[in-house]
C-alpha cells in the first residue's frame, strides 16, 4: 500500500479509530492488532511476501531467546551466525542472485570462456533490505549484550512489521522501538497534531517535489543525446532533489504516522542539502542506514582507530557495502565509492572542523562562506547521484561527459521555471525550520490558528493543483 494512495487514505483513519477506541484496553491485543494491520498493509503488494517476513521474524525471535538462555560463547556465536546467514542469505538470493550470476558469467567471458548459467525471474520483495537489517541488528545487539531479548512474541512481530516504517524505514534499532511496544500508549494531542503536520509536509515533498521532478528527470535521462550539457546538469540537480523529496517525504509520512499511534521513530533526514561538507552530509542523509552501517560494519572493522590506511580502508569498505545495499548494479557501487573518494581529504588530513550545529545557527541568512560550502557539497552530491539513476556505468560516464562539455555554458534546452519555484518553496521552508524535526513543526511559535490553517490549506492546494502524477517511491526497490 502506497502512502500516497486512496487505499492508505482509507486505511490510516480506520486503523487509527480501531487502535484508540476498540483495542486500547489491552496492550497485547493492541499490539496484535498492529501486527494484523501491518501484514495487511504489506500484503497489499503481494501476499506471498508475508511468509518471508514472518519467517525472518520467527528466526530472529528464536535466535534472541536462544542468546538470552545461554552463556556458552560457541553456542551464542552459532546462533548469531544463524541469524546473519539466514537474513543475508534471503537478501542475497532475492536481491543479488542475478547480479552475481551475470557478473560471474561476464568475468569468465573476459577470459574467453562462455558459461551457460541462467538467471532467474525473481521478484524482489518490497522493503526486504529494510526489515532484514532491522531484525539482524536485534540479534547482533543481544549477542553484544546491549539489550535483552524479548519473550513477548507479539511485541516482536509488531516491532518487525510496524507498518509506518516497514518498507522504507527509518531502519529502527530494537533498543529504541521495541520497548515502545511493552508499555501502554496514551494518546498525546500535541504529538498527534505534529505528526499530522509532518505527514502533510511529507506528502508535499513526495507529490509536489519528487513526482514533478520525476517527469523532467525521466525526459532528460532517457533522451540523453538530445539535450545540451547545461540541461544535463539541470537533470542531475533535479534527480538529486527528486530522491530527497521522495525518500525524506516518505520518512516524514512514516514518522508522522507512527506519532499518531503514540510511537517515536528516529529522524531519518536532517536537511542534508544544508550540509557544509561531506562528513556533515553523511550525518544528515539517511541517518538510520548510515548509523546502522557505522555500528554494525564500520566500528567492528576498527572504525576510525588505527593508522590512516586503516581508516581509508574501512571507509571504502563501508561505502562499497552501502552502494551494494542500494541495488544489485555496478552503478550503485560506483555511487558509494565516489562518496568514499570525497571523504578522502578528511581521512588523509584529519583536522578538527569547528562548525555550528546547523548552518548559520541563530541567523536568517548564511554567510557567503557557508553558502559556498553548502553549494559545493550539493554539487558534489549531484555529480555522484547521476550513477544512482543511469542503467550502466557507460551511461553514467556519457552523461558526465555531456555535463563537462562546452555546451554546459549554453542556454539549457530545458528550463523548468515552475519546478524551480516549487523547489524554492521547499528550500525556504526547510531553511527556516532547519533546527527542528520538520518544516511544519510549529510548537513553541505563537502563530495564530488562522495563519497556520492558511499555510496548511495552501500546501494542500499546491499538492492538489501542482502535484505530479503518482510515481512509486524510489527506495521501495531497495
Amino acid at each position: 500500500m502506497l502512502f500516497n494512495s486512496i487505499e492508505f487514505a482509507v486505511f490510516l483513519p480506520v486503523v487509527f479509530i480501531l487502535y484508540w477506541f476498540v483495542f486500547n484496553r489491552n496492550l497485547r491485543l493492541q499490539n496484535f492488532f498492529l501486527v494484523v494491520v501491518s501484514y495487511l498493509f504489506y500484503g497489499w503488494w503481494d501476499w506471498r511476501f508475508l511468509f518471508m517476513m514472518a519467517f525472518t521474524t520467527i528466526i530472529d525471535y528464536w535466535v534472541g531467546i536462544g542468546l538470552k538462555r545461554t552463556d556458552d560463547e560457541k553456542r551464542r556465536k552459532l546462533l548469531l551466525y544463524t541469524s546473519v546467514v539466514l537474513n543475508l542469505g534471503l537478501l542475497g538470493f532475492f536481491k543479488y542472485y542475478n547480479f552475481f550470476v551475470d557478473s560471474f558469467v561476464g568475468a569468465f567471458r573476459l577470459f574467453g570462456k562462455e558459461l551457460n548459467v541462467d538467471t532467474l525471474n525473481i521478484i524482489l520483495p518490497v522493503g526486504i533490505s529494510f526489515y532484514t537489517f532491522q531484525t539482524m541488528s536485534y540479534a547482533i545487539d543481544i549477542y553484544r549484550r546491549k539489550m535483552d531479548a524479548t519473550e513477548d512474541v507479539i511485541a516482536f512481530f509488531s516491532f518487525v512489521s510496524f507498518f509506518p516504517q516497514l518498507v522504507a524505514g527509518p531502519i529502527e534499532r530494537a533498543s529504541n522501538l521495541l520497548p515502545q511496544f511493552y508499555v501502554k500508549r496514551h494518546f498525546d494531542y500535541h504529538k498527534a497534531i505534529d505528526g499530522s503536520r509532518q505527514i502533510l509536509w511529507g506528502l508535499f515533498k513526495k507529490i509536489v517535489i519528487a513526482d514533478n521532478c520525476a517527469v523532467y528527470v525521466s525526459d532528460i535521462f532517457n533522451h540523453n543525446l538530445e539535450y545540451n550539457g547545461s540541461a544535463h546538469l539541470i537533470g542531475a540537480i533535479l534527480f538529486t532533489i527528486q530522491i530527497y523529496g521522495d525518500f525524506s517525504g516518505y520518512s516524514d509520512i512514516a514518522i508522522g504516522s507512527a506519532r499518531l499511534f503514540g510511537f517515536n521513530l528516529m529522524q531519518n533526514f536532517a536537511y542534508p542539502f544544508f550540509s557544509r561538507n561531506m562528513p556533515e552530509l553523511w550525518k544528515r542523509w539517511h541517518i538510520s542506514l548510515t548509523t546502522w552501517f557505522q555500528d554494525y560494519v564500520f566500528f567492528p572493522l576498527g572504525g576510525s582507530r588505527g593508522n590512516t590506511w586503516f581508516r581509508v580502508r574501512n571507509t571504502f569498505i563501508l561505502f562499497f557495502i552501502s552502494g551494494l545495499w542500494h541495488g544489485a548494479n555496478y552503478t550503485y557501487i560506483i555511487w558509494g565509492l565516489m562518496f568514499a573518494v570525497y571523504l578522502l581529504p578528511y581521512l588523509l588530513f584529519p583536522r578538527k572542523i569547528n562548525m555550528t550545529k546547523v548552518a548559520a545557527e541563530g541567523k536568517l541568512f548564511p554567510s557567503l562562506k557557508e553558502l559556498g560550502q553548502m553549494s559545493l557539497t550539493f554539487l558534489q552530491v549531484v555529480l555522484v547521484t547521476i550513477f544512482f539513476r543511469v542503467a550502466t556505468l557507460h551511461d553514467g560516464l556519457v552523461y558526465l561527459g555531456s555535463i563537462f562539455s562546452s555546451s554546459l555554458f549554453e542556454v539549457p534546452d530545458v528550463l523548468p521555471e515552475k519546478m524551480f519555484a516549487l523547489i524554492g518553496i521547499m528550500i525556504v521552508a526547510e531553511w527556516l525550520q532547519r533546527s527542528r524535526q520538520h518544516a511544519l513543526e510549529f510548537d513553541g511559535f505563537n502563530i495564530p490558528r488562522a495563519l497556520r490553517w492558511t499555510i496548511y490549506y495552501a500546501i494542500v492546494a499546491i499538492i492538489l493543483f501542482m502535484g505530479g502524477s503518482q510515481q512509486d517511491f524510489i527506495y521501495f526497490q531497495f
Partner: protein, 307 residues
C-alpha cells in the same frame, strides 16, 4: 482525543465537500466509456462487425466505410485483457455479430495496463462498464484517478460551456486527440519507440495470450470471424523498437492464429504504401491515413466497402 478528532474533521471537511462535489459532477459528464457501454447494451443487436483494441484501431478503422453495421469499441491503451472483458460482457447483446476486428500491436503481448503509467484508465472500465477484477478500492473514483486541475476544467467545460468528454463519433471512431500531431517524426520515432520498449515486459505475455485466446475461443464458439492485424508504423519508430519483442510478437501471433480456422491475420507494420503524410505521429495514422487504411483493410480481407 476528542479535540484532535474535532480539529482534524474540521480541517478535512471542506476538502471532503470539495471532492464529493467534484466526484458527482465528473460522473455526470458523458464520456466515451459511458457512450460505448450504452451503445453496446441498447443498440448491440444491430452490430454485425465489432472493432476492439487500442488507439491502433480507435483512430484507424472508420466504421462509416463498412457496408455492414460496424461499431468501434476500441479505447486508448485498451489491452487484450480489456478487449476480452468487453466481448465477454456484451456478446449476449450482440446476436447478429459476424466479425470482430482486433489489432495485435508491437506491445500487445508485453503490456499490462495495471502495470503502466496509464493504469488510471482502469477506472473507466470499472466505473462505466462494470469491470470487477483487481484491487477492490482502487479505480472506483474519478477524483483519485487524474489531476485535479484537469478534472475541474472538465467540470467547467461541461457545466458552463456544454462541452462533454465524448471523443468519438456516433459509431465509436476516435475523432478528438489529446495530443497535437508530431511535426518532426524523424526525431520523435526513437523517443516513442524507446518509451514503448521500456513498457514491454516478458512477464506479461502469459496473461495477454490467455486474453487473446479468450477472445478467439469466444468467437469460435459463436461462429464469428476474427480479423487480426498489426498496424502500420513510421520507419523511425520501426527502426528503434526492440527487435526481440517484435520477433516474439510475430511468433506468438502466428502460433495462436494457426490454432483457429476462424482467424485471419494481416501485417501492415512495415507496409510502404503508408506515406509520411498519412501519419499523425510515428505509430498513428491521421484522417487521410485512416481512410486509406480502412479501405485497404476492407479490400484485402474481402469485407464489403460502403459506396
Amino acid at each position: 482525543m476528542k479535540r484532535y478528532l474535532k480539529l482534524i474533521s474540521l480541517f478535512l471537511l471542506p476538502l471532503l465537500a470539495f471532492f464529493t462535489f467534484l466526484e458527482f459532477a465528473l460522473r455526470e459528464i458523458p464520456n466515451d466509456f459511458k457512450y460505448k457501454a450504452q451503445y453496446l447494451e441498447k443498440k448491440g443487436d444491430s452490430i454485425e462487425i465489432l472493432i476492439l483494441g487500442s488507439s491502433h484501431s480507435l483512430s484507424f478503422l472508420r466504421p462509416m466505410y463498412f457496408e455492414q453495421k460496424t461499431f468501434n469499441s476500441a479505447n486508448l491503451n485498451q489491452t487484450l485483457k480489456f478487449d476480452y472483458f468487453i466481448l465477454e460482457k456484451y456478446i449476449r447483446n450482440l446476436p447478429n455479430l459476424k466479425s470482430v476486428i482486433l489489432p495485435v500491436s508491437y506491445g500487445s503481448f508485453f503490456v499490462d495496463l495495471s502495470d503502466s503509467k496509464d493504469k488510471w484508465r482502469i477506472k473507466d472500465y470499472k466505473m462505466y462498464m462494470g469491470y470487477r477484477a483487481g484491487n477492490p478500492l482502487a479505480y472506483r473514483l474519478e477524483v483519485t484517478n487524474g489531476s485535479t486541475p484537469a478534472q475541474l476544467q472538465a467540470v467547467m467545460d461541461y457545466y458552463l460551456k456544454g462541452k462533454n468528454q465524448i471523443n468519438c463519433s456516433e459509431n465509436g471512431f476516435g475523432i478528438k486527440f489529446s495530443r497535437d500531431p508530431q511535426t518532426n517524426m524523424e526525431l520523435t520515432g526513437k523517443m516513442v519507440a524507446l518509451r514503448h520498449n521500456s513498457a514491454c515486459k516478458y512477464e506479461n505475455v502469459e496473461g495477454n495470450i490467455e486474453a487473446l485466446r479468450g477472445v478467439l475461443d469466444l468467437c469460435k464458439k459463436n461462429n464469428i470471424t476474427v480479423y487480426l492485424y498489426t498496424a502500420p508504423a513510421y520507419h523511425t519508430y520501426r527502426e528503434n523498437i526492440n527487435k526481440g519483442f517484435l520477433k516474439r510478437s510475430y511468433a506468438l501471433t502466428d502460433s495462436i492464429t494457426s490454432l483457429y480456422p476462424n482467424v485471419r491475420y494481416k501485417n501492415y507494420f512495415e507496409d510502404d504504401r503508408f506515406k509520411k503524410d498519412m501519419y499523425r505521429d510515428v505509430d498513428h495514422l491521421n484522417e487521410k491515413g485512416a481512410e486509406f487504411f480502412t479501405k485497404l483493410f476492407l479490400e484485402e480481407n474481402g469485407i464489403n466497402l460502403k459506396e
